[in-house]
Subunit: 167 residues, 2 copies
DNA sequence: ATAAACTTTCATTTATTTTTGAAAGTTTAA
DNA sequence: TTAAACTTTCAAAAATAAATGAAAGTTTAT
């Protein structure tokens, strides 16, 4: 396989993986493209490479920056903007985890808490509901806290050092 | 909040969470409904409760059974089929993790391996590509193995015992 | 202050995914 | 073996999500 083919295959695969996990295909593809670029890429280049419109590119770059996994860069003497991706994979994982937790898990937890704390009659059905949703609340909370712990650990310099050494 | 309202809120929330993670809404809603049911539920009941068609119900129940998180049950003297969800959350997590690994992660890993092992010229661009995709391969492999280890641990009876005691 | 170079926004179009429902298939009881 | 009771399939329709592109907005150089 030659480079160009491999590059394309990687971008397509990353895009497909993204959509299976609820991230829009183009967003994942742009991210893939930036990840494997050794230098900042302009909007024009992204449009050209992925054959997508300016608007689409702009919106998805914005989304990637909101997730904190793509950065804007300015080149001296260049008017236009360039973009780079976070390339440290631990950092990337932490940022994605934190963002999904904030946007999706935390709000779901709030609802789980609400519905699991209703007053119920003593019908078996209602008791089971409270029991099961409470368990679910505890489970999700525990899993989410684990993520938090991991991200904290990754932010703390000693932790980072340990990780680096372990690699 | 009264029971019926809480139940509905839970089903809607679980459905929304599902779609954010690439699982179709109805599939997640049916699963939610079965999770909080203290007894097996018929197809008719699911259709009624979620206001969806017979075909939709049938297909999504099949998908849930393929994932191994919903089971068919037969009641003595009843012609129609009933359904129950896996209610043990550790078991549920393991099954979802295993299935997503098999369907999505493993195939992606295969591609990552392919593209990260191409022969490249010594251009910085191509070197960076191989370097970055190799790192990604290692990273994803490590994460996926971690899941495998967790599922193995969960299947082994001693591990289960330890988990039970820890709870 | 003006205009060129560039980016963002958002109403409309397009593509993708999900749902429907009727026909085909299956199982069971008599 | 027949028919009633039930489930599955799948082509077509509907709903949802994503992409386009032109107009509006912004920044920078002169």
């Amino acid at each position: 396989m030659e480079f160009k083919e491999a590059k394309n295959k990687f971008v397509q695969t990353w895009g497909a993986l993204g959509s299976q996990w609820g991230i829009n295909k183009t967003m994942a593809q742009i991210h893939a493209l930036l990840m494997i670029s050794n230098e900042p890429v302009s909007m024009e280049d992204i449009m050209e490479e992925l054959q997508i419109s300016r608007g689409n590119t702009s919106m998805n770059l914005k989304a990637l920056m909101d997730w904190g996994i793509v950065y804007k860069e300015y080149k001296a003497g260049e008017r236009r903007e360039f973009f780079t991706a976070e390339k440290d994979l631990d950092e990337l994982a932490v940022k994605i985890a934190r963002e999904r937790s904030k946007r999706e898990i935390k709000p779901a937890l709030k609802i789980l808490k609400e519905v699991s704390t209703i007053d119920v009659s003593n019908s078996a059905e209602e008791k089971h509901f409270v029991d099961q949703t409470s368990k679910l609340y505890d489970f999700v909370l525990k899993a989410d806290n684990m993520l938090d712990k991991m991200t904290e650990f990754n932010e703390n310099w000693l932790g980072r050092l340990v990780l680096k050494i372990m690699k």
